[in-house]
Every structure is written in C-alpha cells, then in structure tokens.
C-alpha cells in the first residue's frame, strides 16, 4: 500500500458527537496507509475532529441528525503530493471572516478549534457549497517517499 494506490473514500455520517470516534478511526487508518507517522496522524485526526465539532455546533446548532459528508483522497499527480480531506455540510453558511479563533493569549474555555486546524493542516479553505451549506477542504502534504513508514 502506498499513497499512490490509495483510492478515495466517501462517508456520510450524522451530525452526532458519537460519530466523531468513527471518523477519527478512519482518518487514523488512512494516515497509516498513506505513510504518515503516528504524530502527524494525530494532528490530522485532531483537525478533522475539530472541523466536525464546528459543523455540529455552529453549522447545525447542535442538531444531531443532520448529514455531514467526508471525503478522503490522496493527490499524487502533482508535485505537491498530499492528503485531502473534504467536509461538506448542509447547514448555516458562515461569513468566512467570522471563522477564526480567539487570541490564544486570552485564556478562556473554547475558541481553539480553528487555530488547531490551521496550525495542523497545510491548506484550509471554507467555500459555500453548491446547493447550500459549506465545503471545507483541508490539505496536508504527504510525507516524502523516504520518510514513509513501510507497510
């Protein structure tokens, strides 16, 4: 198995906190298969978890029965070989300018998710999706072939 031969995976889950653990399990396994080490995998899992948490809390106001689509793919036909994770919701669309974390120095509960995502991923884009809702695209550079864990 290598990032080159990894085929895209699509999932549809409900906006329920109990599904986060399932998506994390998928992301962890995909990261392992595509050559990330455990530390990098942890940061990617965390980013996806934070992004899903935000969809549940902000786009769906905590409703637990709304659809979230997750697509995981590798992009290996460009020089920037990368793992791409897309999250699509059908909820309230936020002004991109309001999607930002608080000042980290001002310690209070909450307000860390977006910081985590942008810190851990290489590219993060929120775009209004066709047909309503938001498409969040998160991209992380794949480890170079020589860094890759053999599987």
């Amino acid at each position: 198995m290598s990032a080159e031969s990894f085929k895209p995976i699509f999932m549809r889950i409900a906006s329920s906190p109990s599904q986060l653990a399932v998506v994390r399990a998928v992301i962890e396994k995909v990261c392992e298969l595509t050559g990330f080490d455990a530390k990098a995998a942890g940061r990617i899992m965390l980013s996806v978890d934070e992004a899903l948490t935000n969809v549940i809390r902000h786009a769906y106001d905590g409703a637990d029965d709304q659809p979230i689509e997750v697509e995981v793919a590798t992009i290996t036909d460009s020089p920037a070989r990368s793992l791409r994770i897309c999250l699509r919701d059908y909820g309230r669309v936020a002004d991109p300018a309001t999607i930002k974390s608080r000042d980290l120095a001002n310690v209070r509960p909450g307000g860390l998710g977006v910081h985590i995502i942008t810190e851990c991923m290489d590219q993060v884009t929120y775009t209004p999706a066709e047909g309503g809702g938001t498409l969040l695209t998160m991209v992380k550079k794949l480890p170079s072939e020589k860094e890759t864990r053999k599987t």
Partner: protein, 116 residues
C-alpha cells in the same frame, strides 16, 4: 445530566489528604467533555487544596476536553486551590502545545512529581 463522580469519563477519585487525584478515562471529545467537566467541577464542592487529573487512560482529547480543563482551572484558581495534569500521552501533550496551553497548565510526568 447528573454530575456524578465517577462517570463514563472519570473512572475514580482518590483522596490524599486534601488533594483529589482524578482518574480520567476514554476519549475526551465533544461527546464526553460535558460529563468530564461536570465531574471535575463537582469535586470543588469538597474543597480540595489541589486537584491532580491523571490522563494516563485518555488516548485522545480535543479542544472540547481542553475547554473543560480551562474552565476547571479558572474555578480552581478562584478558590485558591491548584490544578495539575499528569501522565499525558504524546498525543494529548501535543494538543496542549498546539494550543499554547502547555505553559498555562502545570503538567507533570507522574503523580509523584505532581504531589511532592
């Protein structure tokens, strides 16, 4: 929801004099952070002089778990007590680094170090 101790996220609490050592368990994410926080805040009723949260059995935590701990920290400080975190695995420790909270919390390797 009841603030029960123990619950699904707090396995048990051990008292050593006025210190409460809290054994957390399981992933602390959006699903579990509310009960985690409730169990932690409930402990303050007992007026501990400090609280040690042992995270040895927490494989994973996200920002909602961190938020529970930040909430606890501010309440603990108001009451003049102290809060210490111990036995964070590499993943959980890295969450505190990413959020720059590794310098806000007192983090120790072991209970021994946190208590002495």
């Amino acid at each position: 929801m009841n603030a029960q101790v123990p619950n699904a996220s707090v396995k048990s609490v051990r008292w050593v004099d006025r210190a409460a050592i809290v054994y957390a368990t399981g992933d602390i994410d959006l699903e579990h952070s509310t009960q985690f926080q409730q169990a932690l805040l409930k402990l303050l009723d007992e007026n501990p002089s400090y609280i040690v949260v042992n995270l040895k059995e927490v494989p994973y935590m996200d920002s909602s778990g961190v938020a529970s701990l930040v909430k606890l920290l501010s309440r603990v400080r108001k009451s003049g007590a102290a809060l210490r975190l111990v036995e964070l695995n590499e993943r959980v420790r890295s969450l505190f680094e990413i959020t720059r909270l590794d310098s806000v919390f007192e983090i120790f390797g072991t209970e021994q170090e946190a208590i002495s």
